[in-house]
């Protein structure tokens, strides 16, 4: 990271830290959603941007994190967010490890179809086994039952919502910063460089003695854990998890985050996720037909601006210099 990037990151962090002081509860809540989704996008992009694998099934890991929390709360009576995070990571890691073994043997279109098919298996299970998962009603994870920082902070009473959003915003912000820093280290480590080498030329990487499958599997695992963590953080905010989080449009959204921001940039997916979240909320408010808007934006993006918002902004600023 050079000095300019560090300064920019610090500036963004200061702005983010000040948001609850200026914005109302609703805006803070929206941004919290955006930050959780950004973690999912970061994880997803380790596969698409850095390993060259397009997953159409990341809803599975997001849902594993979300359902992990809901099931732990329902059946084990746990209320500590830290334990939820551990549980969510274990669930999504186990799932990604298992699905990864199957998926990384393929690339390109077969990888995409396989990830899609496997995520749909989970969706049908969550949908059909309603006596465990609540079926279409889903499972509730009310914030009033939640405690943060090992029980130090809890939110009793009916009017605790605003307080919850403020605390939870900072909680998510810290996790988000840790995740971003971690992902930065991963993609700039020898491991990350090897993934990029596999992406750019699989045959050469193989000749250099790289064990392709093992690296892809590890990338898949890390990617799944990040996305699962996003699902874990998302659930208390949403208060409910339904089979929708496992269904293919959720995977489509995660793909959208990365393409919107630009998947060849480290920050692209983060920017894409946050902007997408606003886009979705306001587009739904304005029109019932927001899918058409999304679809049109996606077509325009991949046709004319394949480097996404961040990539295009970088190119424009380079031109101005």
């Amino acid at each position: 990271m050079n000095r300019r990037q560090a300064a920019a990151a610090a500036a963004v962090l200061v702005v983010l830290a000040l948001v609850p002081a200026f914005a109302g509860t609703y805006q803070t809540q929206l941004l919290t959603y955006g930050l959780t989704l950004a973690i999912a996008a970061l994880g997803f992009n380790l596969l698409l941007g850095y390993t060259g694998l397009l997953s159409f099934g990341h809803s599975a890991y997001f849902g594993a994190g979300a359902y992990g929390v809901a099931l732990i709360m329902r059946y084990l009576g746990v209320s500590s967010m830290e334990l939820f995070i551990v549980g969510g990571i274990i669930c999504s890691a186990a799932l990604a490890a298992l699905f990864g073994v199957v998926c990384v043997r393929h690339t390109r279109i077969f990888f995409a179809i396989l990830t899609l098919a496997l995520s749909q298996v989970l969706w049908t299970l969550a949908y059909k086994f309603f006596w465990i998962t609540g079926g279409t009603d889903g499972l509730r994870v009310p914030f009033s039952k939640l405690t943060l920082l090992g029980g130090l902070i809890d939110f009793p009473g009916a009017d605790a919502f605003a307080r919850f959003i403020t605390f939870y915003y900072y909680y998510v912000l810290v996790v988000f910063c840790v995740c971003t820093a971690l992902m930065w280290l991963i993609v700039h480590s020898p491991f990350g460089k090897t993934l990029q080498a596999i992406r750019d030329n699989e045959t050469r990487a193989r000749f250099l003695g790289v064990r392709i499958w093992r690296y892809r599997w590890l990338a898949f695992l890390v990617s799944g854990i990040f996305t699962g963590l996003a699902g874990t953080l998302w659930v208390p905010l949403n208060g409910l998890t339904t089979p929708d989080v496992l269904y293919w449009p959720q995977s489509g959204k995660i793909v959208f985050f990365a393409v919107l921001g630009g998947f060849r940039n480290f920050t692209g997916p983060i920017v894409g996720a946050v902007i997408f979240n606003y886009l979705e909320v306001y587009a739904i408010a304005v029109t019932e037909y927001w899918q058409i808007t999304l679809g049109a934006i996606l077509i325009v993006l991949v046709t004319f601006l394949p480097s996404g918002i961040v990539g295009t902004a970088q190119r424009l600023s380079a031109k101005l210099k």
Binding site: F110, I113, Q120, V121, Y289, Q291, L298, I299, V302, P306
Partner: protein
């Protein structure tokens, strides 16, 4: 015993529909090398056009004449496909697969909402077509003649497609283009025309699949995506790009679905996806697939 016979017929009816969709998907992939994520939406389009036109004309026309509208559904899907390929899809042949998937995914989102915009959220039915043909007794149990007829339509479509691809001059050009686009272009084949016609034909078949299914079950929102994922399962089992594979895959998937619905309803879809995953593990190119 009669129940088994009926279940076999049900399974064949479903296989006919699945074949039409999966063969179109496979044809487009085989010729152009793109996987059309919006393929299911063409199926839904065929279903909606047929249901809507049958509903609008039911009072004015005799029931037998309404069967024309099955063709109308298929043709509408084909016309839209013919318009979309040169404008939206064509710039993507030279680009990476990720972008091809993404642009057709965008198309899927748009088409799903266009259907909602035009026909709204209420399901449309065309059950008059099924009623008009009445029932036939199979070993004492009643069964709709319509389904039998449509099994026949599926079989005829499979034969016609085979004859078209393997016995006509256009089929030769099609296969030549699929094997080596640049060589075909160098030999004077108008590749652009082959592509647009192949895409249109694929959409026509998807639309026909939707049209023949809609009299027996309503046209609902989301039907396109549901069928897309199952069509993926079919082509993955049969082999992406292979028409024989689409036929065998459709028969396997529909038989499996009928059996699981009968005995283990909760696992109906899960079983299908698992089978696809297992086939990909053991035989990545599917039962009839070529080496990529």
């Amino acid at each position: 015993m009669e129940i088994v016979a009926l279940q076999v017929l049900n399974s064949l009816f479903y296989a006919a529909v699945l074949f039409l969709i999966a063969a179109g998907l496979s044809l487009i992939f085989g010729v152009m090398g793109i996987v059309n994520m919006a393929h299911g939406s063409f199926y839904a389009l065929g279903a909606y056009v047929t249901a809507w036109s049958v509903g609008a004309a039911a009072a004015a026309l005799p029931p037998a004449a309404l069967f024309v509208f099955l063709l109308l559904g298929a043709i509408s899907a084909a016309v839209i496909g013919l318009a979309i390929e040169p404008t939206l899809i064509r710039p993507f042949y030279r680009r990476q697969e990720e972008y091809q998937l993404l642009v057709t995914f965008g198309l899927l989102l748009v088409l799903e909402d266009v259907i909602r915009l035009v026909w709204g959220g209420t399901p449309l039915t065309a059950s008059g077509l099924v009623d008009s043909l009445g029932l036939v007794r199979i070993g004492g149990l009643p069964y709709p003649v319509y389904n039998l007829l449509m099994i026949g339509v599926g079989a005829v479509a499979a034969l016609a497609l085979w004859a078209f691809v393997y016995r006509t001059k256009f089929g030769v050009l099609l296969r030549a283009t699929a094997q080596d686009r640049r060589m075909a272009a160098a030999l004077g084949i108008d590749v652009g025309r082959i592509y647009v016609l192949a895409f249109g034909l694929g959409c026509f078949m998807a639309g026909l699949g939707g049209a023949i299914v809609v009299p027996s079950q309503a046209a609902v929102l989301g039907m396109g995506v549901e069928v897309l994922v199952i069509a993926f399962v079919v082509v993955v089992i049969g082999g992406l790009g292979s028409l024989e594979g689409a036929l065998v895959g459709a028969l396997i998937v529909s038989a499996l679905r009928t059996i699981t619905i009968q005995f283990w309803e909760e696992f109906e879809l899960a079983a299908l996806y698992l089978i696809a995953a297992i086939v990909l593990l053991i035989r990545p190119t599917g039962l009839f697939g070529r080496k990529a």
